[in-house]
Amino acid sequence: MIDLLHRLYGNTGFGFLDWRMLVMWAVVAVLLYLAVYKKFEPLLLVPIAFGAILANLPTEGIVNKPASIVRSPETGEVVYVAAESGRVVHLNAVEKMMPLTVGDLDATTLQSLLDGDTVDGFGTGSLLYVLRREVPVAPKKLFELKINEHSFHLTDVLIWAHASGRVVDSSVEKGDRVVQGQPIGELHSERTGGLFHYIQMGILLELFPPLIFLGVGALTDFGPLIANPRVLLLGAAAQFGVFGTFIGAQMLGFSTEASSAIGIIGGADGPTSIFLANALAPELLAPIAVAAYSYMALVPVIQPPIMRGLTSMKERKIRMNRLRPVSRLEKLVFGVIVTITCILLVPPASPLIGMLMFGNFLRECKVTERLNKAAQNELINIITIFLGTSVGITMTGDRFLRTETLGILVLGVLAFGIATASGVLMAKFMNLFCKNKINPLIGSAGVSAVPMAARVSQVEGQKADPGNFLLMHAMGTNVAGVIGTALVAGFFLTMFGGAH
């Protein structure tokens, strides 16, 4: 019985606690405080934060991948095979980032890895193969390491088991050349993957963001935009926030792909950010999503000083004409034209644009109310729950507590600021030419952050002139910003997306 108690204790999760988890609990507490008490986009931040709790507990059974085929991560030569058929392998109970190359290990660890199974400091991860990259990154690292009868370079890649199970197929031998993506072995287990492994598929397969956009489209009224199409330019201008942040991220040393994904935070559009981050920089998904949603909530804090600083009182008092009513047919025609134009210009944005305008068509055609309601409610609510928790579950301490995260958070604020300023300045610029003056305060709404930013415009406008109603005009700018950001996402995907 003592033995049983011992076993029970050994199987609790206490042994897996580390300081990173505790820090992340504090981060979660802050997020929950902001969401629940400060109402910072709670619909997303609460699921994200709760997902992050689960990510930072020893919940191995909740995110683990199912045992399956092992693929070579690069093209190269197999220099060591530990995956003999029938061998039982296992994975850490909590997700850990394992060392990538032989150079990340010290000789003793490597020695014990080759001898046995368990390695201090890396839990119980099982090494399956060592691979020599075809094109070594840098010749200076080509130190050679001889252990037993094996010889390694420091740049040789370590391939670990991705799941607990049994090796049932090991089709390669030492000396074989393998290409990137080639199956080099197979693990098998009776156990299935964790709940969130399957839910996360909605992000990995890029299903959730377009479906959310279906609901967003069903919730969006493009009327103000159609009645005053000039605001499309304001929505375009605000995208400079994205490009400004892109420059900043490049300067901080992020890769081009990562910089694009970080830049899009400035678009203030949650699903688009997640969509792009998943495609271009999946390892940064969590901080980007958190930044995107947190700063959206900070719009009323970030924007007003910039708006006031860049405008004169006279400008802020400009009254704008009432918007004309827009008929059903006009809305439908607009929707179809936007769909065709945007998809022709940036095909990679078609899942987002296509679903957005489809949802809007369901809304505006007035003959599909059942579907419109379903898109606005059931569908978007259920997917929001799954999307939020899927993002949160990636927030392990290992991945989140890095200097990159800090950089992203700083760049995110910057992005919002630049976008706000660009929108306002564009409005002032357009006033140089237009007869019907535009109140520059609605320019800031181009950052998207629907409908927060539009409300800020309205509030600032009323501070200058209590009889001024800018809300509907700002809503136009707002939705223009959504289209603009989707275009920019498509642009980035065209430029940097899609390595094989």
């Binding site: 199409p229 499309l232 201008a237 004309r324 827009v326 109603f469 920019v488 899609g498």
Partner: protein, 150 residues
């Protein structure tokens, strides 16, 4: 997009990828967004012009018809007509033109707000008195708030 992949793939086999400079990306990208949205603005304006002209024609016709109707039916009172009119102004989402539409929006907002606050408890909206256009604006804002589900 694929053509690009093709190019990239072919290039990458032979030489390191010729990624564009940051400045170029920013310039081209921003230009691209500006041009596309300007294009959309132009198209939308053009289409809008057609619809506006048509609406004007119809309004003129309707005015004539209304005048005739008014003349021929001066004695029939129509109380409550505004409130119970089942016809939905197709552009009511954006308009703000007619006082009637505004009123009904206000009513909707009040009812929704009451419902939100006291939930499923039974309630009867006994009377709603208009307190100026601010309400209507706030109502629209609340409706749009649903958008922030993202």
């Amino acid at each position: 997009m694929l053509a690009f992949y093709t190019t990239l793939a072919q290039v990458s086999a032979a030489a390191p990828p010729d990624l564009p400079s940051t400045a170029n990306v920013v310039f081209v990208g921003f230009l691209f967004v500006m041009i596309v949205l300007a294009l959309l603005a132009t198209i939308t304006s053009a289409i809008g012009a057609v619809f506006i002209r048509q609406a004007a024609r119809e309004a003129a016709k309707a005015a004539v018809a209304a005048q005739k109707a008014a003349e021929s039916a001066r004695s029939v009172p129509a109380p409550l007509a505004g409130t119970f009119s089942p016809a939905v102004d197709p552009g009511s989402g954006t308009s703000g033109e007619s006082a009637g539409a505004d009123d009904s929006t206000i009513l909707a907002v009040v009812a929704a707000a009451v419902h939100t606050v006291i939930g499923d408890r039974p309630h009867r909206v006994v009377s709603v008195r208009s307190t100026g256009p601010g309400w209507a604006q706030e109502g629209r804002r609340q409706i749009f708030s649903s958008h922030r589900v993202r």
